[in-house]
Amino acid sequence: MSQVARSMSDHEAEVWAALDLVCDPELDESITDLGFVEQLDIHGDGSVDVLFRLPTYWCSPNFAYLMASDIYLSVGQLDWVSQVRPTLRDHLFEEQLNVGVAQGQSFRQIFGDDADADIDEVRGKFRLKAFQRRQEVVLRALLAEGIDAADIVAMTASDLEYRPLSDQDAEIQRLRYLSILPAIYFHGPFPCREFAPVGQTIAAKAPAFVDDEARLLTVAGLTERLQMLRSVRLNMEFTGTICRSLLAVRDKAAEVPGSSNTGKLED
């Protein structure tokens, strides 16, 4: 009995770890940190149910799709998992998304002609934003530690790998930046998933800081680059604040009996 309970809890930890890797594409933050995952059920047959909820009923379905399909893929990579069923609730398109993702359908298959953009393009776009966001944090942290602009632009990927940052948040972003950097070098339709950068490594001597087209940053170009990166951050912080606040309100409303938002919209 205790053996079973123990293995279940190991499995649970593995699923949570897999979910940690799934990011909200618009915010570049893990869906577990954001509190989107509401419930996890691991069944005896190796199937896994993941119940998740977004801040509003109106959240963009393309982002919802990306998160659902990333949950499907990330958890599905665990060798003991037989099936993953991500379930989105309280969303305008929950029915289409839940059925479609469980059947492994593409965004276009689910929404047909209503789906305009190529979902991989959307992935690539937000991949780039994540790169920009992380780069700004690292650049500003290095400048704050008194490193010269000339020394910063001369850093190689290997230099950055062995250059921990004293600020805790910046240190986390340094590691995340290094993990996303190869995608920028290799360009192309990269999957917006931390867990699938297979075979994509860059030379240790490659510059640590490049622009969106993987061109070397110059000292002169650094100020302008930082200005551009600031806008990207302000955009993401805006959305992040709104999302977190709305989710907190939604959760609170769900706890109050008789409130308009009882959280009873599912099924």
Binding site: T56, D116, F238
Partner: protein, 333 residues
């Protein structure tokens, strides 16, 4: 007029308010409920705790309450009331020009109605604009490009049908076009709040003013880029201003950006009432000081003169309001 504790006086023109009915009786379907739920989420998430209303208050309020909150308690001298019909979600519409006009009838010195049109209605849209100018003395229009209409899930300012509507606006003396460009919501992956269509319309209609409400967030970079090119593009602060309480550092940084890119003459205050009440927004804004780091890096400052422009004088210019004459008229009320 708002007199700050430090003595400065400001004429306040709130460029973005609403007079809605989202009560359960008026909701047509689940979308109507979820729409006001989302607004209430914004309201309760970003308001200071003492400014949070009950859900019943928020669902529907009358003209007297709005006048009390905005004009009497809110320090606002005049307000633009924006229209958003949303008849697919609400039986009688959400905040229709008809309903908004009640405010003008009751408080003619205080409120101006901004109408609404949907270019996908074709010929009818042109008649609709003329009707609103005649019936509700509309001086501006509020456009909501993500609104559903039949099978359509959104439209663009650069659509030929939209251009015909802008021509009609020019012909009838409408100068101010307010456009909701805010957080991404449905329709699907079509980014109906993408800001690039503003660029085309602003170039082709230099006599119209395009007020981008919510400054296009989360597409600030694209918005600033367009605003630098197009001198008839303005930043509407609704929603952004609400960050003053929960994220003051963020708001200061945002003001630094807007002042740097657009300058002090093209930023308009807006409360987004009833999502937020103007009193605390006006008070906090008047008291705001930009941190030195932002002043130094951006070479901008939020002086009393700049605040006066943002809080009222810029919008007064757009709406041809003679501020001194208006002050005198208000003093006689």
């Amino acid at each position: 007029m708002y007199k700050a504790p430090t003595g400065e006086e400001y004429f306040i023109l709130d460029g973005h308010t609403h007079f809605w009915d989202a009560s359960p009786e008026n909701q047509r379907n689940i979308h109507g409920k979820q729409f006001i739920d989302c607004f209430y989420g914004y309201h309760s998430a970003l308001s200071p705790p003492e400014e949070v209303w009950t859900r019943e208050q928020f669902d529907k309020y009358d003209a007297e309450k709005m006048h009390q909150d905005v004009i009497v308690d809110g320090h606002v001298d005049m307000a633009i009331v924006q229209s958003t019909r949303l008849k697919d979600f609400y039986k009688k519409g959400f905040n229709t020009p008809e309903k908004n006009y009640e405010l003008v009838k009751k408080y003619p010195e205080r409120f101006i109605v901004s109408g609404a049109f949907d270019p996908r209605d074709g010929e009818h849209a042109l008649e609709d604009i003329a009707y609103q100018v005649e019936a509700f003395k509309c001086q501006g229009m509020k456009l909501y490009t993500a609104e559903w209409n039949g099978s359509s899930r959104g439209w663009k300012l650069s659509d030929p049908d939209a251009y015909r509507c802008f021509e009609q606006c020019e012909k009838l003396g409408i100068k101010n076009i307010h456009i909701h460009k805010g957080p991404t919501i449905t329709p699907l992956d079509k980014d109906a709040f993408d800001v690039n269509d503003v660029d085309h319309a602003a170039t082709d209609f230099p006599n119209l003013n395009f007020v981008v409400e919510h400054v296009g967030l989360p597409r600030l970079d694209e918005f600033c880029w367009i605003a630098v090119q197009e001198q008839n593009v303005y930043a509407g602060l609704a929603v952004v201003s609400a960050f003053m309480h929960a994220r003051p550092g963020y708001f200061a940084e945002m003001m630094g950006e807007l002042l740097f890119w657009l300058g002090e003459d093209r930023i308009l205050f807006g409360s987004d009432y009833a999502i937020w009440t103007p009193r605390w927004l006006v008070e906090k804004f008047a008291a705001l000081e930009l941190p030195d780091a932002i002043k130094d890096e951006r070479g901008v400052d939020l002086t009393t003169d700049v605040k006066a422009k943002i809080l009222g004088l810029n919008a007064a210019r757009l709406y041809d309001i003679d501020v001194e004459a208006k002050k005198a008229a208000i003093a006689k009320l």
